[in-house]
Symmetry: C2
Subunit: 225 residues, 2 copies
């Protein structure tokens, strides 16, 4: 496990550690709510506590861990309310991203999006229950639209921060993406609007897409309706 010492170019130990720990947390290898012991992790990865602490700082910034002074760091426990909060933020932001993307996506990017959806479609039609690719394809679609806005800060905010938490939730929650086919249909509709350069419609469709997903979570959290 401790083959970290990358002879590679200028890769920083703290940076590599950050990515490694992010994956470990997101995929549930380090479970939610578990305490993170600096000496233990440092031994496990064969590094000093310095770079590890710096990596933890980064994870705290993303919101994957919570640190309490003189006590230590724990992996966050993502309850339903926090997840709903994330969707509340995503809805207007990604809606806006769609509107901008409708203006700025190149024809080549639109074609690539089309291929992505077809690829995704085929996977679902073949009835691979493989949640991994489904999730990958789902996120990829959203990522590309967000990046197409050209708003670097928006990209960082959504892709580098919030989406880690979503991936974590989907990895650790037993039920994975309750409605993959319906979601893909909605992606197709969004793509159509983008391809028509209809930003207004694309925004509405994306907002509904996220809003529907949010409602599914809402019902899970309060099944007394």
């Amino acid at each position: 496990m401790q083959n970290l010492r990358n002879i590679d170019k200028q890769s920083l130990l703290s940076q590599d550690l950050g990515e490694l720990l992010t994956e470990a947390i997101v995929q549930g290898v380090i479970p939610q709510g578990s305490k993170i012991s600096e000496p233990e992790l440092a031994r496990r990865y064969g590094v000093s506590r310095g770079p590890l602490r710096e990596a933890m700082l980064k994870l705290e910034g993303i919101g994957l861990v919570e640190r309490i002074p003189h006590v230590g760091a724990r992996v966050v426990e993502l309850n339903c309310q926090q997840l709903l909060d994330i969707y509340t933020i995503r809805e207007p932001l990604e809606g806006m991203a769609c509107r901008l993307a409708a203006e700025r996506l190149t024809q080549r990017q639109l074609n690539e999006l089309h291929d992505l959806l077809e690829h995704h479609q085929q996977y679902l039609d073949d009835n691979h229950g493989e949640a991994y690719f489904d999730q990958q394809g789902d996120f990829d679609f959203h990522y590309r639209i967000i990046k197409a806005t050209g708003n670097q800060r928006l990209v960082t905010l959504l892709c580098d921060e919030l989406y880690h938490l979503l991936r974590m939730y989907r990895s650790t929650s037993a039920r994975q993406h309750a409605r993959p086919k319906r979601a893909l249909q909605e992606h197709w509709a969004i793509w159509q609007a983008l391809n028509d350069r209809d930003g207004e419609l694309a925004e509405i469709l994306m907002r509904r897409h996220i809003s529907r997903a949010r409602k599914v979570i809402e019902q899970l959290s309060s099944p007394d309706s």
Copy 2:
């Protein structure tokens, strides 16, 4: 300057340093684009490089400095495009915040908002050109609405991250808040909608409020219109 060693309770050196440096950068004491030397700052504040590096990591997370491996950290240079990007993000987010706040603000909070605006109004009427308080009051208004949503992640995102950059811009750019009275009028209109529990209108007004401010910046960046 180096009276950092707080005998206070459990204040972390890295944490205090982070807040201190944030203020220094936001207020322009450390100018935009300037290089940040770890040994120099460490000497100046009488601390080791460890906590200082951790503070820098935090600042990088906020977006106040940029770090390049093996080279060092620089204070970001906020060009107009990046500022526009921030407003692009704020518009839908704070609009949404207003809609939620219209439902969740208590009467007491609404009254406090009212007092805040009256206080602000008086300052402007007395023709204090004091940009500082104007800015303070402006931000306060937005802060309170955002916090009223109860969405902690939204609060962190806007108040703890994006708003530092705005404060930095207003402190360092010569022209400060070109239209304080007009902006206050818009705040009053928003308050009115909030007080009427008209979330839909409050959202629209807030979006326009931010959109107008964005247009002012847009014209500054490209005066050839």
